[in-house]
């Protein structure tokens, strides 16, 4: 009995131990399985997070603004490619990186208004640095700085603002003068005063008429798109333009020195528009030259392009205005321009004519030395030669139209 009891007891013990071991093994396996599942879920979550971060970084990399993000400890954690370019910038750009760092520190300390950096360059650039603090715990939060290049936006704003101001002035001044002069004439009995005022009335009416004519010309060139396509001799364009401006040159005591091209050099385009463009350049040169000086006109053919160069020795144009002189109603010196009787549209017309003929107009100038305007037009063939005798049709390709 006692031995049987002992055997049972030992068997029970062994069973209990095996059971415990099995249980442990099962538990372990279960735990391992659970752990494996959790680890796999964690890895998946991590992968998803990585993919999200990568997508966000890709998106931030595609935007034109620079983005810099720092964490709670002020450590930089992200910088997109645009902002990376500022890290080793030199000249004005070297100041951008310092501004970014200053802005990050200031934002973490409590926020600052956007800062504008006006860089002289060249090229001139205006950058706006804005940003925000990230997180709102008791510890210093992280921060984000956005660097936005607003140069082009500012330039367009200035063009639009000046255009509105200038056109208002150009139209209001003569129209206001017309009204006042008409009132004065109506109330005046003295015939000599009436005659003098009537002359002024005519002048002001003529001025308004010129502005309207130029505006109509400009809108016609803009609306037409591609100009009439005929073979036009550059020599005839220059001659016609010179004859149109000659009376003004004689009145102002300016010598016109014209070097003509052979007659066969030609371009495809609208003769009337091209004459108008060259005449505007010549008129401009005469108006801003002193009496006794000369205006030179040179034409040459250069690698598939005809160049018409108008050079004066007048007052010249300041460097900062060079880019803007082709804008409508833009005046370098408003007082002087109005004295000369210009409408402020001449160079805008030249630019539009050049563009509509697939050409360009360029200006080089220095104050006190004079200006050189160069009108470049494609000839359609490399030599710039077209037969002109009775030719009115246009070539369809770059070959000589024989």
């Amino acid at each position: 009995m006692s031995s049987a009891l002992v055997v049972v007891s030992v068997t029970t013990l062994v069973v209990a131990l095996v059971s415990a071991l099995a249980l442990s093994l099962v538990s372990c396996r279960t735990m391992r399985l659970r752990f494996g599942e959790e680890a796999s879920a964690e890895a998946q979550r991590r992968e998803e997070t990585r993919a999200t971060i990568s997508r966000l970084a890709g998106a931030l990399g595609a935007i034109p603004q620079g983005v810099v993000i720092c964490d709670d400890g002020g450590r930089e954690v992200f910088r997109n490619p645009v902002a990376k370019a500022y890290v080793r910038g030199r000249h004005g750009e070297a100041l951008v990186e310092q501004a970014i760092q200053d802005q990050l520190v200031a934002l973490r300390a409590g926020g600052v208004p956007p800062r504008t950096l006006d860089l002289y360059g060249p090229p001139r650039r205006v950058l706006v640095l804005s940003g925000m603090a990230l997180g709102d715990g008791p510890s210093p939060p992280g921060a984000l700085v956005l660097v936005d290049d607003v140069s082009e936006r500012r330039r367009l704003e200035a063009v639009r603002r000046d255009f509105v101001a200038n056109i208002t002035h150009e139209l209001k001044t003569p129209i206001g003068a017309l009204g006042l002069l008409a009132d004065t004439v109506a109330a005046e009995d003295d015939s000599s005063v009436v005659r003098r005022l009537t002359e002024r009335l005519t002048e002001e009416a003529f001025r308004v008429s010129r502005i309207i004519d130029d505006l109509l010309d400009l809108s016609r060139i803009e609306a037409d798109g591609a100009p009439r396509c005929e073979t036009v001799s550059i020599r005839s364009v220059v001659s016609e333009a010179v004859e149109r401006v000659r009376p003004l040159a004689q009145t102002r005591g300016i010598e016109l020195d014209v070097e003509e091209l052979p007659r066969w050099h030609a371009v495809q385009g609208d003769q009337g528009q091209l004459v108008s463009a060259v005449a505007n350049l010549l008129e401009n040169a005469c108006k801003y030259s002193d009496a006794g000086s000369s205006v030179e006109v040179r034409s040459r053919v250069n690698d598939g392009e005809v160049e018409v160069e108008v050079r004066d020795h007048g007052i010249g144009i300041p460097g900062r205005d060079l880019e803007r002189v082709f804008e409508r109603f833009y005046r370098v010196d408003p007082a002087r321009s109005r004295e000369t009787g210009g409408t402020g549209l001449g160079l805008a017309i030249v630019r539009h004519v050049a563009t509509s003929h697939q050409g360009e107009v360029h200006v080089a100038s220095r104050e006190g030395e004079g200006s050189v305007f160069t009108l470049r037009l494609p000839t359609g063939n490399r030599a710039g030669d077209f037969p002109l005798v009775g030719a009115t049709s246009s070539p369809t390709n770059g070959d000589d139209p024989t």
Partner: protein
């Protein structure tokens, strides 16, 4: 031990890189101020003039910081050969750049004194040209430093001939306008000083170029002068009035 040495060198080169970046920032401040100064002078823009004059304090502060940084590197790391040349060059360049900044501030002070004076178009054109040429020269000198480009650094000296020539034309134009009575004597003197300031900034750009050549190659134009003097000494060809030291004093612009 070897690992520690590598770590120290790494830290040294990191510090040297920081000095380089600080120097480029200092130069960036001067380049920006120089471009804006010419425009402010021509426009009679007192607000910009005042900004630039006040900004000179910031330039001086950064200059001192860079110098301190360099002295720390010299004393704690005791660099040798090309590393030593880099640190010494940084100290010299800092002084050249800081002095250029002072001259830009001087141009703005002259602009304040001439406020309301209408300049002759020819004088305006020459100021614009001179300012642009000096600005370009200064930028290229800094480009040569950043790129360690000894050829570009050497070209700065040749470019300076254009500045000198423009300066001569500019002074002639001031005389002419003064004779014509279109500018008062006081303003003419201020204008002449402005020209001198631009010309000196051009000289500092040349000095930067020479120092960059030294940094890259270990050679300075003054070394040629020393060699010539050594030959003269060997031949017993002594000058009646000897300058201090063994060689001639700086052949370059000072």
């Amino acid at each position: 031990m070897a690992e520690r040495a590598v770590e120290i060198r790494k830290s040294f080169h990191q510090s040297l890189d920081e000095v380089g970046q600080e120097l480029v920032r200092l130069a960036g401040m001067v380049t920006e101020a120089l471009g804006k100064a010419t425009q402010a002078l021509l426009d009679g823009d007192l607000a910009v003039a005042d900004d630039i004059i006040r900004g000179d304090d910031l330039l001086d502060t950064l200059t001192l910081q860079i110098e301190e940084h360099c002295y720390q590197l010299l004393t704690l790391q005791q660099p040798m050969a090309s590393d030593l040349r880099e640190v010494v060059t940084a100290i010299r360049l800092t002084a050249e750049i800081e002095r250029s900044g002072d001259l830009v501030a001087n141009i703005m002070k002259a602009a304040r004194r001439m406020y309301g004076v209408a300049f002759d178009p020819k004088v305006r054109g020459l100021i614009e040209h001179l300012g642009a040429q000096v600005h370009r020269q200064f930028r290229l000198a800094i480009d040569a430093y950043v790129e360690r480009d000894e050829t570009l650094a050497a070209a700065i000296d040749d470019m300076d001939d254009t500045v000198d020539e423009l300066h001569v034309h500019y002074i002639q134009a001031i005389f002419e306008t003064h004779e014509q009575g279109s500018v008062a004597l006081q303003s003419a003197v201020q204008l002449a000083l402005v020209g001198r300031f631009y010309e000196r900034i051009g000289d500092h750009a040349v000095n930067i170029g020479e120092r960059v050549q030294y940094m890259v190659t270990g050679w300075l134009p003054e070394h040629d002068a020393v060699a010539r003097q050594t030959v003269r000494d060997a031949d017993g060809d002594h000058l009646p009035l000897r300058p201090f030291g063994t060689g001639e004093q700086g052949s370059g612009p000072n």
